[in-house]
Symmetry: C2
Subunit: 127 residues, 2 copies
DNA sequence: CACTATACATAGTATCACACAGTATGTTCG
DNA sequence: CGAACATACTGTGTGATACTATGTATAGTG
């Protein structure tokens, strides 16, 4: 079965989003949030994450010690509020660093070749 | 079992790399390359991809019609050379666009909160 | 009360990077 | 020559995880 190109594109874009999700979530949890509000905050900024993705993610990150959570009751229904733990902050800093590094590499990759356009280096047969 | 933080970090970084791999490979295949040389080219630019990842990836991308390949014999052992197909070029352009969009979002996310630091918007109870 | 938005949770599926192992062909050097 | 190493590709198995779909419950609204 030949896959439709728009499916392929969607899948690749999803993969692109995938690696970023954790970083995005952590970055927003510098201020305390509950899951639903976090999801909306991210969506507002252009990053849509499904509920079935976000909630398990938050539990996972908490299990890894990057987040701390507590139930709280205020206006509406009980909500589970999350914040960065100290390790979470450290991880966020580290991840942000990795991201910037990665972004630099990718920028270089997709930028080059427009001009330049050198051919692939042939493995030297007789040095 | 508590996961060691460096494992967690490594895994997250890997996830970060994951989404980028296809884009990186496509970007380099604007010039014809074989698998091994592609791997080296990417490694030189700071993106290390395992063989067990890259080779299947190339076959997959070819299966999706994004790449064209041919065996060729020159100096050394037979090598399978890959290049972008027209659809591959289109996909590369599209993905690069997605990437830039994503990069902008992430940049905004990790940049904000340093200053600013507004508290989480409370869902208005009475709209 | 029915209906919608909010809020969280879980089971099941599919995808995919990587580890690991294997095959085979150069190249180098004692 | 032949042992060791780099090159070049292939294949299997596994673990992690994003998403779909579905379920539960509460709060506000007509």
């Amino acid at each position: 079965m030949a896959e439709r190109p728009e499916d392929v594109g969607a899948k690749l874009e999803q993969e692109l989003r995938r690696g970023v999700i954790v970083l995005a979530a952590l970055s927003q949890l510098r201020t305390q949030q509950y899951g639903y509000s976090l999801r909306q905050a991210l969506a507002e900024r252009g990053l849509v994450i499904e509920e079935g993705t976000l909630y398990p993610l938050l539990r996972r990150l908490e299990g890894q010690g990057l987040l701390a959570s507590e139930w709280r009751i205020e206006d509406g229904p009980p909500r589970r509020y999350y914040t960065l733990s100290p390790q979470g902050e450290a991880m966020l800093a580290s991840l942000a660093q990795s991201w910037r590094n990665m972004a630099g590499i990718v920028e270089g990759l997709i930028g080059e070749g427009k001009a330049g356009d050198e051919q692939p280096k042939k493995r030297k047969a007789t040095p």
